[in-house]
């Protein structure tokens, strides 16, 4: 093994969080920084050649390669876990920029009460309303504390939208349920596809409060505080699973990389597959020493460092700590240990597939052009007479309908999946189908967690991560309730026929839901019930920080990226302003 010269900072992972940390520390400090990214280099300039549905959206060219590493899944601790032989229900990104290159850019903030889920629920409904095996706990940080960092994130990405709560004042046309915002969005809302406009009008007519999706697919040319300029979105419909060909969608490679590349103190190494975080022992006052990785040529390398940031997405953050023996693995039997607990996956599904008489021209759109409504999210509606807690966002977007993925769903009455009758209906409805999608909260449960798989290995012989994950009655009832609401709106939109979501049964690894898998290295107020403090700093190793949605103790209805980036900003401030002067626990 080759040992390199010590770096001040090593960042594992070159996606949103890793590159944001590299930019912040690289520009604000003189620290030497090495980013290790196991995928390939990427750049916005090449993305125009990638507008090929088959290779990118179906064969998943930008995603992690399951042949090299995947995860195993079982529904409960008694079951035998099997590998996800292809990724499908969530799609981890790979390469510089990570999943931030091929995301949709939908950017709502989490609701204020989401951060105090346990205490607010207990206060309003009593603690016994939480499911018996729940593992819900407060974050240890509030929305108001995060708000300034959310605002910085909005400006970094140039988010397009309409405030609904501006410094405590309700504003017509925005989300009336959102937390107090200190500033209006940097750019106005995006244009609206026809389907979304119909949703808006129908939802309003039913007394709901639709608002434009807060969008990282910016509505007009925008220059951010770092001087990075991006053009307006042109609604080509190639966001999800594609890089943006003109850079209108905020991506790590267009808002962070150009700043980083100008800094001599930051280096990004591609093809670097980190296998372990080295540390000086398993005691309570441990220190990490650096990381070992396999480089692109296959050599084993040790990169010593003063500070290590783990920024390699939810699953790999958790897995690297487990493989490295840092922190006590969670034991669902005794409830001891925090590493791996609170695995969640946002409850996402097409609640109502609506068929219309009029064409929707749905090839036009962007990942985040459309409408949302929060009337049934969080605790925005009364749950005292309902059999479940919390809820989700209802969404009507046009992300750009591509024919391989979208062709073939027909009204249930057609009753055929191939042949002339199916073809006729599928052709007729291809551009007359719209989906109202739910993004719902997923509570944390004692029985949903991650550990190392005893059987299956990755390409280097390291144990795969094992997910023990299934839905509970709360999610099933919530999904049923939200499905009814979505069908009601679809009818009000003038749909002639509606296919309703059949309901959540067991967790289904075949159905794409979202890439919002969360938990495993959760933040919190105490080392007994969390892995890191609210700065993402490891409780046992003060020079190790974890970034990303692995910090989330529960999954919200809102997409996680804004909250992830807000938390990353907060950590960057604490490291740049306090930690580098006085290394040690920040809390």
């Amino acid at each position: 093994m080759k040992t390199l010269r010590k770096a001040d900072v090593v960042i594992v992972g070159g996606g949103w969080t890793g590159l944001l940390m590299a930019k912040e520390l690289g520009t604000r400090t003189a620290l030497s920084i090495v980013v290790l990214e196991r995928g390939v280099p990427r750049s916005t300039e090449k993305y125009a050649d990638d507008m090929d549905e088959l290779d990118y959206a179906i064969r998943l060219r930008m995603m992690q390669d399951a042949a090299q590493e995947t995860v195993t899944l079982r529904h409960d601790a008694r079951g035998r876990a099997l590998p996800l032989r292809r990724y499908a229900s969530f799609l981890p990104g790979s390469g510089v920029g990570g999943a931030g290159e091929h995301w949709n850019g939908q950017c709502p903030r989490n609701l204020p009460d989401f951060f105090e889920l346990f205490s607010r629920t207990k206060e309003k409904y009593g603690a016994n309303r939480l499911p018996e095996d729940h593992a819900v706990q407060d974050w240890g940080i509030t929305y108001d504390e995060l708000e300034p960092y959310y605002t910085r994130m909005d400006r970094l990405l140039g988010l397009s939208g309409k405030a609904g709560n501006l410094r405590g004042q309700k504003v017509e046309g925005g989300n009336p349920f959102e937390g107090r915002r200190s500033e209006e969005y940097p750019t106005p809302p995006t244009k609206q596809p026809y389907f979304s406009a119909m949703f808006r009008d129908a939802a309003k007519s039913l007394g709901y409060h639709p608002y434009p999706v807060p969008a990282a697919t910016t509505s007009q040319a925008y220059t951010n505080p770092d001087g990075i300029s991006r053009p307006a979105c042109v609604y080509c419909g190639y966001c999800e699973r594609f890089g943006c060909m003109i850079g209108a969608k905020a991506q790590p490679t267009n808002v962070l990389l150009p700043v980083i590349e100008k800094k001599k103190n930051v280096a990004i190494r591609k093809g670097a597959w980190v296998r372990r975080i080295a540390h000086d022992g398993a005691g309570r006052e441990s220190r990490v020493l650096g990381v070992t990785y396999i480089d692109a040529a296959g050599n084993e390398i040790f990169q010593p460092a003063e500070i290590v940031f783990l920024a390699s997405w939810t699953l790999n953050n958790t897995r690297l700590l487990l493989l490295s023996g840092i922190g006590e693995p969670y034991d669902p039997g005794t409830g001891k240990g925090a590493l791996g607990r609170n695995l969640t996956h946002q409850v996402s599904f097409a609640a109502a597939t609506a068929f219309f008489e009029k064409p929707l021209n749905r090839f036009m759109g962007s990942g985040a052009s459309g409408m949302l409504m929060s009337d049934f999210d969080g605790d925005n509606f009364d749950h005292s007479q309902l059999g479940f807690l919390r809820g989700g966002l209802l969404e009507a977007r046009n992300t750009g309908a591509h024919p391989i993925g979208e062709f073939g769903e027909v009204p249930q009455r057609v009753g055929a999946r191939w042949g002339s009758r199916w073809k006729k209906a599928a052709v007729e409805y291809f551009d007359r189908t719209g989906r109202i999608v739910v993004s719902g909260e997923h509570l944390a449960y004692k029985g949903n967690y991650m550990d190392l798989d005893p059987t299956y290995k990755d390409r280097h012989g390291d144990a795969l991560l094992r997910l023990t994950l299934n839905w509970r009655e709360n999610e099933r009832k919530m999904a049923e309730f939200l499905t009814k609401k979505a069908v009601e709106i679809a009818r009000a939109m003038g749909a002639t026929e509606v296919n309703a979501f059949p309901g959540l049964r067991n967790y289904d690894a075949r159905r794409y839901q979202s890439t919002h898998v969360q938990g495993g290295t959760i933040l919190g107020s105490s080392p007994e019930s969390s892995v890191v403090n609210t700065y993402g700093q490891h409780w046992q190793a003060a020079n190790l920080f974890v970034l990303g949605a692995s910090l989330f103790p529960t999954a919200g209805g809102a997409n996680p990226t804004p909250t992830i980036l807000a938390l990353t900003y907060r950590t960057a401030d604490a490291v740049a302003e306090s930690y580098v002067k006085r290394p040690g626990p920040l809390l």
Partner: protein, 240 residues
């Protein structure tokens, strides 16, 4: 391209040159216009115009032998028939698409996790079998022997018998892919699939149109990725 690192233990399949070469012979009039690769992989577009109408195309096969290709072509034509509702799998060249996919990295499961043990599992765990798409086709085609000589009704009855098999679900999925993929992949010949459903292909700019055509049909003429980008783009199945 994905960040591929050499997989030392990957099994190499015999290259096309090592196998006896097979051709699929099609009438030019049946295809909507097709990108034809000659033996040295030079590409040319043949359109079904008057001049070519009676011309027979000999398309070099990369994976199937000729008899297999006729079975698959007949089966996908029942899944997506050519009828009074418009062109189908035959005109789009779905068989050419499938042949190329199976010959490429997808067909050999280059990007699927294939470490053992393989176990039976409920469907929600996804396909857990050991067989690659190539092997599933070779095995599945055994049940379709003589299929291309049956009447349409008998063909449908034969497909109904295998409707719940993994093979059939691949056939159906690949038919949709071959109908609607970018023509660089060998299917959707002359963009007949896109024309059928009004999909314009990778259209670069809809800024002025997105809010203009509410409730009205807006159908720009389809253009392929090659036409839009102005240069050739490597298809995943050609990845070495």
């Amino acid at each position: 391209m994905r960040g591929k690192m050499a997989w030392e233990n990957r099994v190499l399949v015999p290259s096309a040159a090592m196998r006896r070469r097979h051709f699929l012979t099609l009438s030019c009039a049946t295809l909507g216009g097709v990108l034809v690769y000659s033996l040295d992989r030079k590409v040319s577009l043949l359109r079904p115009d008057e001049k070519n109408k009676d011309k027979m195309l000999r398309i070099p096969l990369r994976f199937f032998d000729e008899a297999e290709s006729l079975l698959v072509a007949a089966a996908v034509s029942r899944i997506f028939p050519s009828d009074d509702g418009g062109p189908g799998a035959k005109e789009a060249g779905v068989i050419i698409y499938i042949d190329r996919q199976l010959a490429g990295p997808y067909g050999s499961d280059r990007y699927r996790y294939t470490q053992s043990p393989f176990e039976d599992a409920p469907p929600e765990f996804g396909y857990q079998g050991k067989a690659t798409p190539r092997e599933i086709y070779r095995e599945g085609l055994k049940a379709l022997r003589g299929f291309d000589h049956l009447s349409a009704d008998d063909q449908d009855a034969a497909l109904e018998k295998i409707e719940t098999s993994v093979f059939f679900s691949l056939l159906r999925q690949h038919t949709i892919e071959g109908m609607f993929c970018d023509p660089i992949h060998g299917g959707n010949a002359d963009m007949v699939g896109w024309q059928l459903i009004g999909f314009p292909g990778p259209r670069l700019n809809n800024y002025d149109e997105i809010e203009k055509y509410y409730g009205q049909v807006f159908r720009p003429k389809p253009a392929s990725l090659r036409e839009v980008s102005g240069h050739s783009v490597e298809a995943g199945e050609d990845e070495k």
